[in-house]
């Protein structure tokens, strides 16, 4: 066992031990604890939990690598996956918390109708499921790279750990383990980033110091046949950058596993501040990621530029074993670099390895490499747990009890919630070991689907009393149909042929158009049909004010 493996094992065992201890201490006995942690999570802890929930294996492992190869255009992920929190805080969180029940489909069901609730529950399951398979697989990759065990065993170990704490304590254990997982993942992300920044520029704040290498990086990139790093629109046209960013923002605000976290706070006020703390904790990683991307790319290019292929740095050899780094057999020296195997460059590097390999590329010591592996595991497991909870609550709470057992007691609800959770974990584990071919492509499009379905229905439900059930149902169906058909039209999935993008709109960006369609259709159909009942109008009115009753105001009329 190498030194790196030893350290990886140490950190992973330690962190798993911490998660299990927390899980045992926060196990629950009633459904409210299982689904929404008894509405009792303190604001800052909730923010950290949302951060861990939100930052997936993709954010931790792949994002900096994507940015490294996309340059400016990588900003779509940075802005898209943070800007959505502004929408969440201003448009959704406080109102959904005030209404305060268990699931997202439940709100839609109360506001509109049972039919809309069933559509929403199905959409929540589909969106969350495509997402969770990627997480399980990501966890498996970390295990296989750092501990040299098969991906399948990696997935099984990760699933077993999640099984224990998710089934035992539901949302309560998930929340508190996520707080621990956030801590692990942010430390694992920041330490190498700060170290690299210090070594390369003498300033240990990566956010500030990566500006200093951008000029040189641009020059190096051109030498090795890549686009100028800071120049916009080299991978996508402006209209597409705009639409993708918007789709990711709206999609973030519409993802059920994120929205549900705002139900767990004690107060409406707490849900607003949760959004602030969540974005604060997310921003720590998201403002560091572009620095990691730029530094790692610089080190990578600088290390191999013009180097003969028999004298390449050590990390190239280490990672060639995983197949994620390849050297062109016909090349004598590295004169071109790419992340696209089809480009035929002298050195081809997969986006996914940049963060995991960055300590090695920068020559940092073995404990740091082990820590990064534990961080990657934490990111994958925390997101998977949050998604599994949404799947289990949609199946048991929104479907089973609503349709078959309306009068079930609390003990039965808790039991069925646990069984649904266990079932979801097993299905996700099997799918994580043998990911269906389309999952890799579809996972990025979960956002488009969330944007085109949930977001408009919920926002109009809160801000427009006149919005009715027929309108919302037609809007959701129209938005989803348009989004999914365009994705099928432009992508090679399910044996279909990929067609050219229309007007430069990529399948990742279509969610914006889908959401717009949803808004327009919902408003038009609602206008043409009867207004909702007085009971519903009163419910909408009541969620707009934090307190139930008004006390004598202190300073009104100012």
């Amino acid at each position: 066992m190498s030194e790196i493996q030893l350290w990886t094992l140490t950190f992973i065992v330690l962190s798993f031990g911490v998660y299990m201890t927390i899980a045992w201490r926060s196990r629950v006995r009633e459904t409210e604890g299982f689904y929404v942690a008894g509405h009792g999570v303190p604001t800052i802890a909730n923010g950290a939990a949302i951060g861990a929930d939100w930052m997936s294996a993709a954010s931790f492992i792949s994002m900096a690598g994507l940015i490294a190869f996309m340059g400016y255009d990588g900003g779509i992920y940075l802005m898209g996956w943070t800007g959505g929190y502004v929408l969440l805080a201003l448009l959704l969180a406080p109102y959904l918390r005030k209404w305060g029940k268990f699931t997202v489909p439940e709100f839609v069901g109360d506001r509109y109708s049972e039919l809309v609730r069933t559509i929403a529950a199905a959409a929540a399951v589909i969106v969350s499921f495509t997402y969770v398979v990627g997480q399980m697989n990501g966890g498996g990759i970390v295990f296989s790279r750092f501990l040299n065990i098969d991906i399948a065993y990696g997935v099984i170990i990760a699933a077993a750990i999640i099984f224990v704490y998710a089934v035992l304590g539901g949302m309560k254990s998930i929340t508190w383990t996520q707080v621990a997982q956030y801590t692990v993942l942010i430390i694992a992300y920041l330490i190498p980033a700060v170290a690299v920044a210090q070594v390369m520029t003498g300033i240990p704040i990566p956010q500030v110091s990566f500006g200093q290498i951008l000029d040189e990086l641009n020059t190096l990139s051109v030498q090795l046949g890549l686009d100028i790093y800071t120049d916009p629109f080299s991978t996508r046209p402006m209209v597409d950058i705009f639409l993708v960013t918007m789709a990711l923002m709206i999609g973030t605000a519409g993802l059920p596993h994120v929205i549900i976290r705002f139900y767990t706070t004690k107060t409406v006020r707490g849900s607003r501040y949760s959004a602030f703390w969540a974005l604060f904790f997310i921003a720590l990683l998201y403002t560091t990621a572009p620095a990691v991307g730029a530094f790692t790319k610089f080190n990578l290019l600088d290390g191999v530029n013009g180097t003969p292929t028999d004298a390449l740095p050590n990390w190239v050899d280490n990672w060639m074993a995983t197949g994620l780094v390849t050297v062109n057999e016909n090349a004598d020296a590295i004169n071109s670099v790419s992340n696209d195997p089809a480009a035929g460059a002298d050195l081809t590097v997969n986006n996914d390895i940049l963060v995991l390999a960055s300590p090695e590329i920068a020559g940092l010591p073995a404990p740091v490499v082990g820590l990064v592996a534990a961080g990657g595991m934490a990111a994958a497991m925390s997101t998977a747990a949050g998604l599994l909870l949404v799947i289990s609550s949609s199946v048991s709470h929104d479907f089973y009890f609503r349709r078959f057992r309306r009068n079930a007691g609390d003990a039965e609800r808790l039991m069925v919630g646990r069984i649904a959770m266990a079932g979801a974990i097993i299905v996700a584990m099997i799918a994580g070991i043998n990911p269906p071919a389309f999952v890799a492509q579809v996972v990025a499009f979960a956002f488009g689907m969330a944007a085109a379905s949930f977001f408009p229905a919920i926002v109009l439900g809160i801000f427009w009393k006149r919005c009715n059930a027929i309108g919302a149902a037609s809007g959701m169906i129209a938005g989803l149909t348009l989004t999914i058909s365009y994705m099928l039209y432009t992508l090679e999935v399910f044996g279909l042929q990929a067609n050219d993008h229309i007007l430069g709109v990529s399948p990742e960006g279509i969610g914006t158009i889908g959401a717009l369609t949803n808004f327009v259709v919902t408003i038009a159909v609602s206008k043409m049909t009867a207004p909702p009942s007085r009971h519903i109008t009163e419910m909408v009115e009541s969620i707009r004010y934090p307190a139930a009753r008004r006390r004598e105001p202190t300073g009104a009329g100012g």
């Binding site: 400016y72 006020r269 998201y286």
Partner: protein
């Protein structure tokens, strides 16, 4: 929860305060969303090429907005929203209180934060 509230909806002094509170809330929201849009989509995307002509601390400005600046502004916007809404809630007397049937505590009351910040303040607006 919602059912018990509806009965107690009859506020002292008519419904005007509700409309006023809601209008102020919407106005704040629109202003913040306008900033949200102009910083991310304006500076970060639509005018990025023009802004990239300016370089500060090694960063072309448009590039900086897309990869750093917009995230800081988002964070600031949410903070401003939280603080303004705190003030608005207090001004209209709808903030959550420890004793009242506020939005759904489960018996375990712990709104120390809300209580601690309820200082006496007048109509500063």
């Amino acid at each position: 929860m919602a059912e018990t509230e509806e009965k107690s909806l009859g506020p002292p002094g008519g419904d005007d305060w509700r409309r006023e509170y809601w209008r102020k809330n919407l106005r704040l929201m629109v202003v913040l969303l306008a900033i949200w849009f102009s910083v991310s989509f304006g500076c970060g995307i639509l005018f990025v090429e023009q802004l990239n002509q300016i370089t500060i601390a090694g960063f072309p400005l448009g590039f900086w907005f897309a990869q750093q600046g917009s995230i800081y502004v988002f964070l600031l916007l949410i903070l401003v929203y939280c603080l303004f809404m705190d003030r608005l809630d207090r001004e209209y007397g709808v903030e959550e209180r420890e004793d009242g049937p506020s939005g759904g505590g489960t018996g375990s009351v712990g709104e120390a934060r809300a209580a601690e910040s309820t200082t006496k303040e007048g109509g500063e607006s």
